[in-house]
Symmetry: none
Subunit: 289 residues, 2 copies
DNA sequence: GGCAACCTGTAAAGATCGTTTCAGAGTAAC
DNA sequence: GTTACTCTGAAACGATCTTTACAGGTTGCC
């Protein structure tokens, strides 16, 4: 397997052509590679026991413009090393006519999902699953202009798995009516990504005052609702588009649905069976494949 | 096994206490951790889109004397990481308390996305994008019981990018009214995954009779509507859950939105700007981060 | 609607850095 | 012993960086 040629190789290949002081420096670099090279030139020189011009000279000898360029290269290498995702996009098949735009979009989406999972605290996921599994707690959901579909998706599935789930209307003027019913047992699930919506922040504040728990799905920067929320899920949303991607939010939502269903399996199965019967009688649906 | 507390944890723990600009910065740091923090403060600030004092302030907020000390800590961490053998840096870090169920779910979801992209013919994607970009063609969208959120999502974005987009109501008894307006220029986008819905099949047949184009988003097995559809996207939907995952459908939908927007960029931008102004006048939204 | 508190960037100061210059030390050849 | 050459670091330089001070802008509260 081919490893990309990195600065380390450059140094090793040129050991023969190095002067004594340069070798001291090369040794210092390799013994704490690549981080040693990411300090200031002064500190690196001191650590290696040489002078700063020696450092510049070595950088030049390796083919760089100066120490700065040498360091930039090192930094890029380090960055690439750290960026190994846990779940990978498979290799793109050769000779596919995919537009580069599509590829970029897919890559970005995979990245977002990875980083979202990475950033998600397992305890947070557990806590949210526990809240949503507790049927003694009525659940209310609300989404914003863009995220209303996400709210709807979670609502749609939660409603099948458990009772007492309500999707709040889009129009804020009817929210007070829902607020009336919320108390410290209630759970409000809010979806709010950038272009954070004032109305929802107000709703969250009022909900909190009534003692309800708040679960927030937001972007990497975080909606101001975070101040009131008990549990926050930060999803990465940036893609090469004018719009944000809510794919990562959906992933977590779907995983939550699966988890909640598992936790209350017996009750859920009964509900689902009843639902099956109801659909059966309406003949609206075709048989399962 | 406990992982030593590192700066990353410090940032994550304090996200709640961060100001908007600081969050931008935190995101930049986390998105290329830890190497992003090893640049000069100027470059880091630029990359994050904030000013240098903001960087200093964040470093202080995290408990460091200043940026330099912050960076030194980061460098030590990076050095320690690199000194560990490669094998130790596992994909799914052992120390994460994720439930195995969550891990399985995530892996299945990634698999679905990979296989969906693999199976998607680039020409199909192109054709659909072309259809949706053509404003001479009115677009109608309809989703099923589960996929209605996906239809809504696509509708929501398409409506911003172009005129003449309609989301059909859930209740089939009003569909005939929409049918009246459909002709050979029209495009019907149908979302139908298993437990394929009879009513939608009927709707698709009737639509086809009127000469309209039909785009179908379905699962790996294929809805019977495929018979009438001009373009079919097969998304993999199986996950370890009683429910199907529509994540792959969403990925393609999002990519389509981006593509359509690119194709009619000039017109789309104008629409978006107008929309911005409209939102500006209602003070419902907060400033962009 | 007005006031206080907070947030954030501009600009300037002072520190550090990267680079260059230059002179001295070392070495090999004759 | 002299000469020519290479190697090396001290010192000085502008450039860049980190930090600080300050002021404009926004938000939240009464």
């Amino acid at each position: 397997m081919k490893r990309p040629r990195i600065v380390k190789d450059l140094i090793l290949e040129n050991t023969g052509a190095l002067t004594p002081a340069e070798r001291l420096l090369a040794d210092a670099l390799l013994s704490d590679y690549p981080v040693a090279g990411l300090q200031s030139i002064t500190r690196l020189a001191e650590a290696a026991g040489v002078s700063t011009p020696t450092v510049v000279r070595l950088a030049r000898k390796l083919g760089f413009e100066g120490f700065s360029e040498f360091q930039d290269t090192l930094r890029e290498e380090a960055s690439a090393q750290f960026k190994q995702p846990m779940l990978k996009r498979e290799r793109w098949p050769e000779n596919r006519g995919d537009s580069p735009a599509f590829r970029d979009f897919a890559e970005a989406a995979f990245n977002n999902l990875n980083r979202t999972i990475e950033r998600l605290d397992p305890a947070t996921f557990d806590d949210i699953a526990a809240l949503l599994s507790d049927t003694a707690r009525p659940v209310y959901l609300i989404g914003g202009r863009i995220t209303r579909s996400n709210a709807d998706y979670l609502f749609n599935h939660l409603q099948i798995v458990r009772p007492n789930v309500t999707l709040l209307s889009q129009s804020s003027n009817v929210w007070p009516q829902y607020l009336l019913d919320m108390d410290e047992r209630s759970v409000l699930v809010v979806f709010d990504i950038r272009r954070y919506e004032r109305d929802m922040a107000t709703l969250a504040a009022l909900t909190k005052e009534r003692g309800a728990r708040i679960v927030l799905f937001t972007d990497q920067w975080g909606s101001p609702i975070g101040k009131h929320a008990d549990h926050v899920v930060n999803a990465m949303v940036e893609v090469p588009s004018s719009w944000d991607s809510t794919l990562a939010i959906n992933l977590i939502a779907e995983a939550l649905i699966a988890e909640v269903q598992t936790r209350r399996w017996d009750e859920a199965r009964e509900r689902i069976e009843q639902l099956e019967d109801l659909f059966q009688s309406t003949r609206t649906f075709r048989r399962l494949p």
